[in-house]
Symmetry: C2
Subunit: 377 residues, 2 copies
Amino acid sequence: MISNKHIVVDIHTHIYPPSYIELLASRDQVPYIHKPTAGDPRLIILPSDDDQSKLAQNRGRPIDASYSSWEIKRAFMTSHGINISVVSLANPWLDFLPSSESPKWAKTVNDDLEKACLEFNKEPSSSICKLFAFGTLPLSASADDNRAEVIRLKTLRHLRGVIMGTTGLGLGLDDPALNPIWQALQDTETMVFLHPHYGLPDTAFGRPEVVARSGHVLPLALGFPLETTIAVSRMFLAGVFDRFPNLKMLLAHSGGTLPFLAGRLQSCVEHEREFIANGGCKQGPKRDIWEILKMNIYLDAVVYGESGLKAAVHAGSVERVIFGTDHPFFPPLGAESAAWPSVGTNYAAIQGAFEKDEDIVEGILGGNAIKILGLEV
Amino acid sequence: MISNKHIVVDIHTHIYPPSYIELLASRDQVPYIHKPTAGDPRLIILPSDDDQSKLAQNRGRPIDASYSSWEIKRAFMTSHGINISVVSLANPWLDFLPSSESPKWAKTVNDDLEKACLEFNKEPSSSICKLFAFGTLPLSASADDNRAEVIRLKTLRHLRGVIMGTTGLGLGLDDPALNPIWQALQDTETMVFLHPHYGLPDTAFGRPEVVARSGHVLPLALGFPLETTIAVSRMFLAGVFDRFPNLKMLLAHSGGTLPFLAGRLQSCVEHEREFIANGGCKQGPKRDIWEILKMNIYLDAVVYGESGLKAAVHAGSVERVIFGTDHPFFPPLGAESAAWPSVGTNYAAIQGAFEKDEDIVEGILGGNAIKILGLEV
């Protein structure tokens, strides 16, 4: 038996395969890619990126080859000591496609990912450098189409789950229309990587002209984590985890804020008059959020600090927190640098929070992911 | 010197003095109190409480004497082992008043609080049972009016700071018009207890008819903490803590989510293109959020779980986290009970998180508050 020691797995790392880049480049509404005559193309993925007061070549963010190149992914892995990447399509996935097109695109993207993993893993390397992937679902299509793709994904050797946004079939993850999809995900023991994209309504942050002064900080730093927290809380409140007790959800950014707010959430449930009806017969979720955090939820370690990471490990399970980078997002700005500070911050948080327990560090850095996702080293 | 051991201080406990109750009862728009012919009056403080599809006597929540009675506050303190309460006017304070009325009401409420503390503390008691208070400001009036009230509060013996919502003078706490008020608060070393009321825009939580099925859970459990986090993050991003480096802010609900999200917030600042301008000259906040958490921020321990509490203590300062109850909110539902589970959960989290360190427990339960607010035992 090969030891999993010192193997680093990146569970949160994105790619826009070339086919998906072409799809975005063919569009002129969010999400889209604008290709100016000079300079890098611009990626406009958030409504707030689509600032009509700016020239198209200044909107959004520059998108270079790091978003789609497997060789740049390999170089990033090598320079950051990462042995295995479980790549996922970046937001907003296929959410925006008409229902007639999404099944075809899901198949194309998932097949592209499988093929890329196969090719990538053939390359000789001086140390372990492997690729697996989370697939994507055709959520704008029917529940049946989604169920079919969930089942098909099990036939693709390098696919280890699906990435999903918070809107589900359009009405959020508490929508009963998702039940057949949750059922399929549970039946096939497929991990769902829940990831934000839509943030919070702009008015949550105040006047647009003031928000804009700090660029994407408020929507990215606070809106994204809250979106994830709201989505999983709505699933909890609607009883999704009661109906599908074996559902496996990996939450981006260490659960958004769930590890911190779980106590308040549970307390609010226990003090909610709407849940006390019919002479004291308790309504609402049957299992408490702490149990769901231990039984159904997995967390990445993309939280950029020891306070958050320790809360994630305490609220979740120490054997279910997993290193990630969010590559190719949050690159170093200004001077070129091989070592990304955003990645270094997360490495340092893991080492700092658990410096006295090497097993925990090894688990978060790679051992946990290898076991949970059955990654062949 | 008297030992502060085993003295419990409740930093987060609200009261609506009788004068304020009358003010709310005189209104028919949020916030207001509706007095039906039978049953308890109803308090409608959140826009979401004001459900026009319900009869007025079913809107909002029942408001009984626990909201305004000093004797009920004393009984609650006694039954929960609390020796000192630092009471504050509950939300929405005076935010809703026209500018012509708020200075007068601030004076009335603050004088009521001072007088109540004086009377309360005269009562003989078998153990320590004392009252102090956070005052309120006339924020709808001018900066000068607010400055004057900040200075006047220093003459009231039992007042130990001010409670404040997140809207400031109407445009949020990053509004430069607040500068003279921050200056006065800093000059007088007045603690600001920052408390949420407005939550997040309703659309953040999905369709109203689905949100309503879980009553207030989503806005209270997630909206409230995010409102606090956004408010203090906006202050940070706008450089308020750079301009007023000695400002003291006590954040409700253990900082909303700030202890968990501080790392992501700081990382987003360091990766924000808007802050890199003029050939790499860094814009944006000068001090990082971790420093502000250690130097300017105080946190209550109203977080209902060990995960959150440990994160609060780790991100903040162990000598600046303080027990609280949120009384009279979150009363036991159903069967009458002397011991409130909402309070027991917070006690248990403090004991559980720091069972090996009695000094930390003693500090959070009371010692920290006594030192920080100069409470005479």
